[in-house]
């Protein structure tokens, strides 16, 4: 049968919503997440990230958390933690979380990126231009959430690798679509929209969870790292999720950042100092000396005067 394209009166995928730049955020509501990992698959499929193809080569950590951590080709993973139950009506407090780029306002990775490959886009999300990435890996150490990974041939040359982390799907967003993970989320645990709106929804949800008896329910990301662009509703509080309590850029990274101005200033001071020395030395002409090793005399070549006598007996040298 020949392929017939039936017109089904459908809104074209690419023309769904008008796009307007504003500060946006992804909302992750752990109390709605069923841990299905659809987001992980949608991310891989949209961004064309490969999965291992060799037989039984994928590592398994005896957990539903697979892959256990972010990886060169894994920008997003769902975490599972079994905490002690705080209710008689469940055997365990099963915290289902999400690990991916938090899209910080004070983004360590953006700060350290030497080439500007990593940057904040118009929506406030931290995205990157892989063509500018030189694979220096500085962003790895700069991220308090241990997010950035690199893809490409993982070898000594280091020339074939590029940063790979959640971009927030700016290509989709600019075409009026949600990021791939948000689009696919069946229970609505992921939402995308104006950050202020997402924060509002998160706070309401956390309050509702508290009212339902989840006393540790909280919101994460409002102020962390200057405000992240992924806002979390944590059903069981911070302990169940792979999130640092007080994320900050490590002092090492900050110190490294100080190094640049220090070096600049240092270099200028050095050049200035040496310049002064150079100037002070202009016009100096030292006398040419020679040594008479027989008499142990240092003699001015031009005048023939003995400048200094070395009294060997006295132990002079």
């Amino acid at each position: 049968m020949a392929t017939v394209q039936y017109e089904l009166n459908r809104t074209h995928l690419a023309e769904r919503n008008a796009y307007a730049a504003s500060e946006k955020a992804i909302l992750f509501d752990s109390s709605r997440c069923s841990g299905c990992k659809g987001c992980m698959v949608a991310c891989k499929c949209w961004n064309m990230l490969p999965s291992p193809m060799e037989l039984n080569s994928q590592e398994w950590n005896a957990s539903l958390q697979c892959p256990y951590d972010l990886g060169p080709n894994t920008r997003l993973t769902i975490t599972f933690r079994e905490l002690d139950s705080t209710s008689p009506y469940r055997p365990v407090d099963w915290a289902i979380g999400r690990r991916a780029c938090m899209h910080c306002t004070d983004a360590g990775c953006v700060n350290v990126c030497p080439t500007g490959a990593l940057f904040h886009n118009e929506d406030g999300l931290v995205t990157y231009d892989a063509s500018k990435c030189i694979g220096c890996s500085y962003c790895l150490g700069a991220c308090p959430f241990d997010v950035p990974r690199h893809i490409g041939k993982d070898d000594l040359s280091g020339t074939a690798i590029r940063i790979n982390k959640c971009t927030g799907c700016p290509d989709r967003v600019s075409h009026g679509m949600n990021p791939a993970c948000v689009t696919t989320c069946q229970p609505g645990a992921l939402q995308f929209g104006d950050r202020t709106e997402m924060v509002k929804i998160a706070e309401e949800r956390a309050a509702a969870l508290k009212a339902k008896g989840y006393e540790n329910a909280s919101v994460y990301g409002i102020n962390e790292m200057g405000g992240t662009h992924v806002i979390y509703v944590l059903k069981y509080g911070l302990d169940g999720y792979e999130l640092p309590a007080n994320p900050s850029i490590s002092w090492m990274t900050s110190a490294s950042e100080i190094m640049k101005p220090v070096l600049g200033i240092g270099f200028i001071a050095l050049v200035a100092g040496l310049g002064a020395c150079l100037l002070s030395g202009i016009g100096y002409r030292r006398d040419e000396l020679r040594y008479d090793e027989v008499n142990h005399d240092v003699i001015d070549v031009d005048t023939g005067d003995i400048v200094k006598h070395i009294d060997k007996e006295a132990g002079e040298r």
Binding site: P114, C136, Y138, H150, M259, L270, S280, R317
Partner: protein, 277 residues
Amino acid sequence: MAEVRFIQRHSLLTRIVHCTVAVSCVWLMISGLFVFVPAIAAANPDLTRFMKITHRVVGVVFICMPIIGIIGSPKGVAEFFKKYFKKWTPEDVEFMKKFVPYMLMPKKVHMPDQDEVKSGQRIADGMLVISGLMMAISGLALWLGGSVAHASAETLAVMRFIHDLFFLLMVIFVVAHAFLGGGVFQPYRGGTVKLMFGNGQVSEANALYHWGFWAREELEEGAKIVVRTVPDEDRKRISSKASLGVAATTTGVAAVAAKADEAVRNAVDEAQADPKE
């Protein structure tokens, strides 16, 4: 025509190692700047990527050369380091005390005689060696840790900090070293650049000025003395004008490298002492 005495101060191996390390160090600094200064990298990602490759290749040379040197002359290296750990003499202390005034007022402040390695030199060279070592270690850690070894992000951050910190030190001492050793500084003019980038010989006059104790010992001993006949007008130049160094510094570091290459060639040719201008 006049006879001028020279003292053979550095072996060929030393000069070759120093020269290669110096060139690679300069190259590493330049290519490193591409990663260090965002503006440069952002403007030229492709060039930066190329620089990154060269950084690693040249890094290998930078690390390998001293090792080749050690293998080539283990005894020499041992002796070399011994000199750096000699006890400081009162003159050494005096040198350090007078260093800053001397640099700023060379006409008025004069330095005492020195041994084969000046105390200031010991500090400066030591810093260069330490910086080089730390750069090499942290560089290797960043490189291998980011590829084959999969070091933790924390380790990499620490290594990067070390790399940056010693880059700072390195820059300071390399520039200072070139300023003085290359004879940019007026009182240091007189062909010391040829010690490393030339035939490794120092004229009697320069030796007496810089390393009085050592010069006199060597002259008395005579084993390393080379006597050459030079035209009269050139005699002065050898002793007091080291325009080579000045020119090189003023036209930029790259020119230094070029000139240095030339100097090496000269050394290899063992041309009669008639440095080209």
